[in-house]
């Protein structure tokens, strides 16, 4: 099962980026389909076919373009662009910290798009989204820091090749990352800003005023982002590719399971719990590692 690292090594920087740009939405869409199927089964429904997310996206592109103001879709385009770019950086093996910063910029553009439409629901969604960003950002940065402490490099390519499983050195960081991953995947209990479920009290929150192709772009960006996040999960077991892939999938299913079992938190609890978990679980891990060196 060394086919993953071997194939990866044989590709050039640009080829890796292109591979990500082409393959990630397919994989991401597929995962979204499995998500919906699995969620339906957990709820005792039959659920849509696994290919449904692709049909949805295609359908959205054929819809009429309706906007509140003409500028609103531009930040969304930038959101997609930056998400794809940060993913491409990651899978090209570039700097993990740079990836993290780029991803934060992508998120900023999504929020700015939602702010600029001037709608109360969308505004509330955007405010909540920034709170979520504030909640998960420290942990995301600490993941990069922790991986650097173990491997001595910020480069994804080096981190992936590290021979000892990172998980052994970074159990706390991994646990903290799992926690905020629920926010990043937009799963309950942290789906405050927008939700796939019908029970949202602020309509569709962030995406209230986005429809048709723009909504499809948001969806596709989300697929890219999910693949990138699972890529980071993969790094924790990069020394054993097979196990790492299995773990990434398990983590994804775990998030679906959590999604099914929790009611939505308020922003206060979201922020407090994320920061506390980060401080209590991940920070000691970082401190201990720094004393070991």
């Amino acid at each position: 099962m060394n086919i993953i690292p071997e194939t990866y090594q044989s590709l050039s920087l640009v080829e890796r980026m292109v591979a990500f740009v082409v393959l990630a939405p397919l994989l991401g869409g597929l995962l979204a389909g499995i998500d919906r199927k699995l969620s339906a089964r957990l709820q005792g429904r039959y659920g849509p076919p696994v290919r449904q997310p692709f049909f949805d996206a295609l359908k959205l592109f054929q819809k009429e373009r309706v906007v509140v103001n003409r500028a609103q879709n531009f930040p969304i385009f930038l959101f997609l662009l930056f998400t794809v770019f940060s993913g491409a950086l990651f899978f090209a093996g570039a700097d993990l910290l740079l990836t993290v910063f780029c991803l934060a910029v992508a998120g900023t553009f999504l929020v700015l798009g939602a702010f600029c439409v001037g709608s109360p629901f969308s505004h509330l969604g955007a405010e909540r989204e920034v709170i979520q960003m504030m909640a998960y950002e420290p942990m995301v940065i600490l993941v990069a820091v922790g991986m650097y402490q173990v491997t001595g490099s910020f480069k994804v390519a080096d981190i992936a090749q590290h021979q000892v499983p990172l998980l052994f050195h970074l159990p706390g960081v991994f646990a903290g990352f799992l926690f905020i991953l629920t926010i990043k995947f937009r799963k309950s209990p942290f789906d405050l800003s927008m939700s796939h479920h019908a029970h949202q009290e602020i309509v569709r929150g962030l995406t209230t005023e986005f429809s048709g192709p723009a909504l499809a772009l948001i969806e596709i960006a989300h697929w890219y982002e999910n693949v990138l996040l699972l890529g980071i999960v993969y790094l924790f077991l990069g020394s054993n590719p097979l196990l790492a892939v299995v773990m990434a999938l398990l983590v994804y299913f775990l998030e679906i399971f959590i999604d099914m079992n929790y009611a939505r938190f308020k922003w206060q609890l979201t922020l407090l719990s994320s920061w506390l978990i980060t401080a209590v679980v991940a920070v000691p891990n970082i401190i201990v590692l720094s004393t070991l060196r």
């Binding site: 373009r65 309706v66 906007v67 509140v68 103001n69 003409r70 500028a71 609103q72 879709n73 531009f74 385009f77 930038l78 662009l81 770019f85 950086l89 570039a94 700097d95 910290l97 740079l98 910063f101 780029c102 934060a104 910029v105 900023t108 929020v111 700015l112 939602a114 702010f115 600029c116 439409v117 001037g118 709608s119 109360p120 629901f121 969308s122 505004h123 955007a126 405010e127 920034v130 709170i131 960003m133 504030m134 909640a135 950002e137 420290p138 942990m139 940065i141 600490l142 820091v145 650097y148 402490q149 910020f154 309509v203 209230t208 005023e209 922003w267 920061w275 920070v283 970082i286 401190i287």
Partner: protein, 632 residues
């Protein structure tokens, strides 16, 4: 040597001209514009002349100066005592007396035997500072030409002392040039005291109760720093008979650690770190050019300048670790407090303290990579923050409020100004622009040296992101279906020119970033540390590609959505199905209401009254520890 002396004396000349020439003369404005061009041009010339050169030291001996400095110090002391007694405040009197006694006793006893080899010097760091003082300080003075008439129009009751105001601004610049070019510590101290005096008088310009209170607060805190500075100098001279910045760095640590800590302490007060932060937030009562000047190019930058200069003395001591923590506490706590602030100027003030905290923390770590980040932070922060302050100053009069909640739809009401603001904010927190590059570098600098700081940086960055994004969203929001009155045509040409210059400068420093990093900062670091941080070339390229592509994508995108987007159907925002028009809805009982959109401020958690004391007490503890470990 002459450019250095010129840079100190020229603003002084302009200051006296500003005071002497009567108001309203055309020639006065012409002189002002020319003076600012010169102030900008000479540091650029210095940069060009010193590119790739090592630090140069000059003797610049002058008995006249040696005689005049104590005399002026005495005059200042007497004046400060006079104004303090007049307004029945006695703490400054005590501090001034303490300080003067220390320095005068020294001048009269040891001063005669004092041998100073080099009074002036210039290196890349000085030149960076001179560029910031000259270009940004000069631009702010230009802004003041257009701003002050409006200020007095708004505040009829404030006595019109515009000439005096201009005098103080240029005097301030002269003192800043003095600080960055002096090698003689007595000279630095002299200019240091002048900045304290200028800031006191500028903050109190309005002369009403709140301004007086804030001015005296600033005075007190800076005088406390000044006392420490004076004591540090006296101790230093008695211990080592050295009074020169470059020689101090070469001395035995046991001898110079305590004086260095004293001066660093003065630097903390000047750069408004905890426990001294309250003077900078109080200084908001002053006219906008003052705040912009204090926050971006002068005063607070003088504080971090001296800290960075003396950081090598502290290296590998416990004091440096404590210094890092003081910077870290200031960075984190003020970033969190900024989340809860609605007053635009206060948000900017807290963000300033926060960034300075990061610079101080870098000084505490004091590796080549950390100092690299500190210098990059100083540059980017100065440009973007001055732009933002001036924008808020303009908005304050055109919109009639400095409350962020009143800035909705700013992009419709003042499109050009909002664009300037967005450039400034992007410069502050959106990658790949300035400040984010700096934070990125800072994190990497901390990761090996100080894990606690990486954690602090992680949390602080998250808070920073929050308060900038929500403010940016406020400015960018668009009111559906309505056309609002554009109110920016009343902004004067002086103000537009300055805003234009600073917005262009914000973009320019980002474009020139590789040049600044490799040609200016790295030679300085090689001189100090013997090596410069190895910057990953790939990352630099990625950042450059990002920047360039953003500048292509942004205008093109805006063009596209403005012209080609006409086939799109425009509808009203969704208001729960009860729309009357785009912005009003029919509520319960058939009552009509208009939508109002407000942001989160989370005052219960991040409020000033909750967190400020925490910062003060934590930092105060660290300050005591710092003195303690230095004295042992």
């Amino acid at each position: 040597m002459y450019p250095l002396i010129f840079l100190v004396l020229f603003p002084l000349l302009i200051a006296f001209l500003a005071l002497a020439l009567p108001r309203g003369l055309l020639i006065k404005k012409v002189i002002g514009v020319l003076a600012n061009a010169v102030l900008c041009g000479v540091p650029v010339y210095l940069l060009a002349a010193h590119l790739g050169q090592e630090a140069t030291y000059y003797q610049a001996e002058s008995h006249l100066v040696d005689a005049a400095m104590p005399l002026i110090e005495v005059v200042i002391a007497v004046y400060l005592i006079y104004v303090s007694v007049r307004s029945r405040r006695y703490l400054p009197v005590l501090l001034v007396v303490l300080q003067s006694v220390a320095i005068l006793a020294f001048e009269l006893t040891g001063g005669h035997t004092l041998e100073v080899e080099h009074n002036l010097f210039v290196d890349q760091f000085s030149i960076i500072m001179a560029l910031i003082v000259g270009c940004i300080g000069g631009a702010i003075c230009l802004f003041a030409f257009g701003y002050m008439p409006e200020f007095h129009h708004h505040y009829q009751e404030v006595p019109d002392r515009r000439r005096y105001f201009a005098f103080l601004l240029y005097l301030f610049l002269a003192a800043m040039f003095g600080i960055v070019f002096s090698n003689n510590l007595m000279w630095i101290y002299f200019f240091w005291e002048i900045t304290t005096l200028c800031s006191f008088l500028l903050i109190g310009y309005k002369n009403d109760k709140p301004s007086q209170d804030s001015a005296f607060k600033a005075l007190n805190m800076n005088l406390i720093g000044g006392v420490a500075f004076a004591v540090g100098l006296v101790y230093l001279y008695n211990a080592s008979h050295v009074m020169e910045l470059d020689k101090v760095l070469g001395l035995d640590k046991g001898m110079v650690l305590l004086p260095a800590v004293c001066i660093v302490f003065a630097g903390l007060a000047k750069s408004a770190q905890f426990p001294f932060s309250s003077w900078l937030t109080g200084a908001m009562v002053a006219p906008t050019p003052v705040s912009a000047l204090l926050h971006s190019s002068t005063m607070v930058k003088a504080g971090v300048y001296i800290i960075l200069r003396l950081a090598p003395v502290l290296q590998n001591t416990a004091a440096s670790k404590v210094l890092t923590m003081i910077g870290g506490v200031s960075f984190l706590i003020t970033a969190l407090i900024a989340v809860s602030q609605r007053n635009a100027k206060k948000v900017l003030a807290y963000s300033t303290i926060s960034n300075l905290g990061l610079i101080v923390a870098c000084a505490g770590v004091n590796t080549d990579a950390a100092v690299w980040s500190a210098l990059v932070l100083i540059i980017f922060h100065a440009v973007a923050k001055s732009l933002l302050f001036l924008c808020v100053g303009v908005i304050e009069y055109k919109v009639g409020s400095r409350d962020i909640e009143d800035m909705d739809y700013l992009i419709m009401r003042m499109p050009k100004l909002a664009t300037c603001m967005l450039i400034g904010m992007a410069g502050m927190y959106i990658a790949p622009f300035g400040m984010v590059i700096a934070k990125f570098a800072t994190l990497k600098a901390f990761v090996n040296e100080s894990p606690v700081m990486t954690v602090i940086l992680a949390y602080g960055s998250a808070a920073t992101l929050f308060f900038w994004v929500k403010w940016m969203g406020k400015v960018m929001s668009i009111k559906g279906g309505a056309s609002l009155e554009v109110v920016e045509d009343r902004v004067s040409r002086w103000e537009w020119t300055t805003l234009g210059i600073l917005a262009a400068a914000t973009v320019a420093v980002c474009v020139a970033f590789p040049f600044i990093a490799f040609q200016v900062i790295n030679p300085y670091l090689r001189e100090v540390f013997g090596q410069a941080p190895i910057v990953d070339t790939f990352n630099v390229y990625v950042i450059l590609i990002l920047m360039i592509s953003l500048w292509i994508v942004l205008p093109l995108g805006l063009l596209y959505y403005r012209t080609l987007g006409k086939g799109i159907r425009t509808v009203a925002t969704y208001l729960g199905g009860g729309n009357i028009d785009d912005v009003s809805y029919e509520g319960a009982m058939g009552k009509a209401g208009e939508i109002e959109i407000k942001s989160y401020y989370m005052e219960k958690y991040f409020g000033e009254n909750v967190l400020f004391p925490v910062g003060v007490y934590l930092a105060l503890t660290f300050v005591f520890i710092m003195f303690g470990v230095a004295a042992l």
